[in-house]
Amino acid sequence: MQYLKPAFRKAAFYCHSLTLNPTSVVLFPFRFRLAPPVSRFSSSMAVPPSSLDKQFDAFRVQLEESGTLRDRIRSVVSEIESSTRLIYATLLLVHHSRPTPDVLEKAKSQINVLKEQYKQLAEVVGGCPGQYYRYHGDWRSETQSVVSMLAFMHWLETGSLLEHKEAEEKLGLNSSDFGLDVEDYLIGVCFMSNELPRYVVNQVTAGDYDCPRKVLKFLTDLHAAFRMLNLRNDFLRKKFDGMKYDLRKVEEVYYDVKIRGLTPNGESIGDQGIQGQS
């Protein structure tokens, strides 16, 4: 019986509207139809494409196009990724004490392949100028790895930091069409600094006792330069925070070398007494 009150209220309104609309459902239960009249249902199936349909069809076409574009981008990026891995494998040889110039020679030739692939990427995206950042996520992390490798190579060659503009040029990019994002560049540089502690350790083991001093100077400068930036709490900030651990590790190696008198600054006492201590 508790249905009765709200049912009564609803039914009263419904009856009121019924008197104005005699074609709607009849009151008596044994002639009651629960479903809407069949005619209304079938008519909506036969309706020609409305303007609503047209708009959404147009959307579907556009979105399919952008989906296709994204697929093409992704296929070029996966090629970039394989080239990057090849270059990385080449660069790893510096840890194995292969002579640096040879390693660099090989890596540079592989960079040319990369350059071609970025050109391809630029062409694919170039069809839709202004949409660089729509698809940017698809090549962001690969580009960061590429920058880190280029910066490491540049440092091995010159001892200085590869600048943003220089990195852009090495990849054959330019900022007006398809450029190198500044944040990608900075994150790439942070990744490079992660490589340095290991490099220093292996160089010292191989007998290059001047390396720690050079790396320390470089990394200290780099860390101080990064401190000039006002960073937000994002991925770049996290990577920058990681840089101080790299710096600390290099300092430790430098210290270990120095107290043993191994630095080539004329303070070296020789291999006899101190070297054996650890």
Binding site: L4, K10, S17, S66, G130, V182, D221, N230, N265
Partner: protein, 289 residues
């Protein structure tokens, strides 16, 4: 140089600022710093403008919900005016900040605001015209906000679709309110409209960039449409219940009425017999019933 002079062995090393950063590096980094500062400041301004758009669009939506059969025209007029104010005051700020590449670069910062705006505009549009306000139509109203020399801000398909997905939630609330008010025809229109939107979206959603947001919205949308449909069927069942009870009630009354007439009739005769001496029934004994 660092080598030799300032080095201390403790881990808590005091780094002297006397060490000058290599000048070329310092130069580059001051440029990068400037770039990042500009970018972050702009992002902050865009977020703020987007929040203002969100808040004021929500107000438009609440205004539309105040609609009832008595004040429909006034309420919708006010809602339209409010929407125009949102466009002129708040959307214009967004347009100023977003130009060229920033349009896509800062999308995460302003997308929620645009979605809410689309929701409000399409909601007003439906209540007024019974149709879905198209993306082209909304973008046309935004053209005058942009400087003609610059690329105009145009809402992109993705934000439009996300906004339309949210629209069905508001439609659901409106429909249920209309059913309670007895405006059943309007409620039915809303139901059809919501179903059409859902149907159109199912074909388009899989192609959207990062469609995971949208897929969640689609689930919610289906629930909204079903809520409207369930409310309508509840109404029909409750009418059925009422009517069947009404019929039974009528029969009961009829039966009781007949029964009491019969009962009254048999009580009447012995009374005549016992009191009236001139009646032909004098002397007949009273019959106990």
């Amino acid at each position: 140089t660092v080598a030799g002079t300032n080095f201390q062995s403790s881990t808590k090393r005091v780094r002297t600022m006397a060490t000058a950063i290599e000048p070329a590096m310092k130069d580059s980094f001051s440029r990068y710093a400037e770039y990042l500062n500009d970018l972050n400041d702009k992002r902050d301004r865009v977020v703020k403008a987007s929040r203002d758009v969100t808040m004021n669009s929500k107000k438009v939506i609440f205004q539309v919900h105040r609609m009832s059969k008595y004040n429909k025209v006034e309420v919708l007029e006010k809602a339209e005016k409010d929407l125009v104010a949102v466009t002129d005051q708040y959307m214009s700020r967004l347009v100023k900040e977003l130009q060229g590449t920033d349009f896509w670069k800062l999308r995460r910062a302003y997308s929620p605001g645009i979605q809410e705006y689309v929701e409000a505009a399409t909601f007003c549009g439906f209540c007024k015209n019974g149709t879905l306000l198209k993306l082209d139509e909304i973008n046309k109203t935004l053209l005058p906000l942009s400087d003609p020399s610059l690329q105009p801000l145009q809402i992109n398909i993705l934000d439009y679709l996300l906004g339309v997905a949210d629209l069905t939630g508001e439609l659901m609330r409106l429909a249920i309110g209309m059913i309670s008010d007895g405006e059943l025809e309007f409620a039915e229109k809303i139901c059809t409209f919501a179903r059409d939107i859902y149907r159109e979206l199912t074909l388009v959603v899989p192609h959207m960039d990062d469609s995971s947001d949208m897929k969640t919205k689609m689930d919610i949308m289906l629930q909204s449409v079903m809520k409207i449909e369930n409310e309508r069927i509840c109404l029909r069942f409750s009418i059925y219940n009422f009517c069947s009870k009404f019929v039974i009630f009528v029969f009961l009354i009829f039966y009781v009425a007949c029964f009491s007439v019969h009962v009254r009739g048999s009580e009447y005769i012995p009374l005549l017999g016992s009191n009236d001496t001139s009646s032909f029934l004098v002397g007949v004994p009273d019959i106990e019933i």
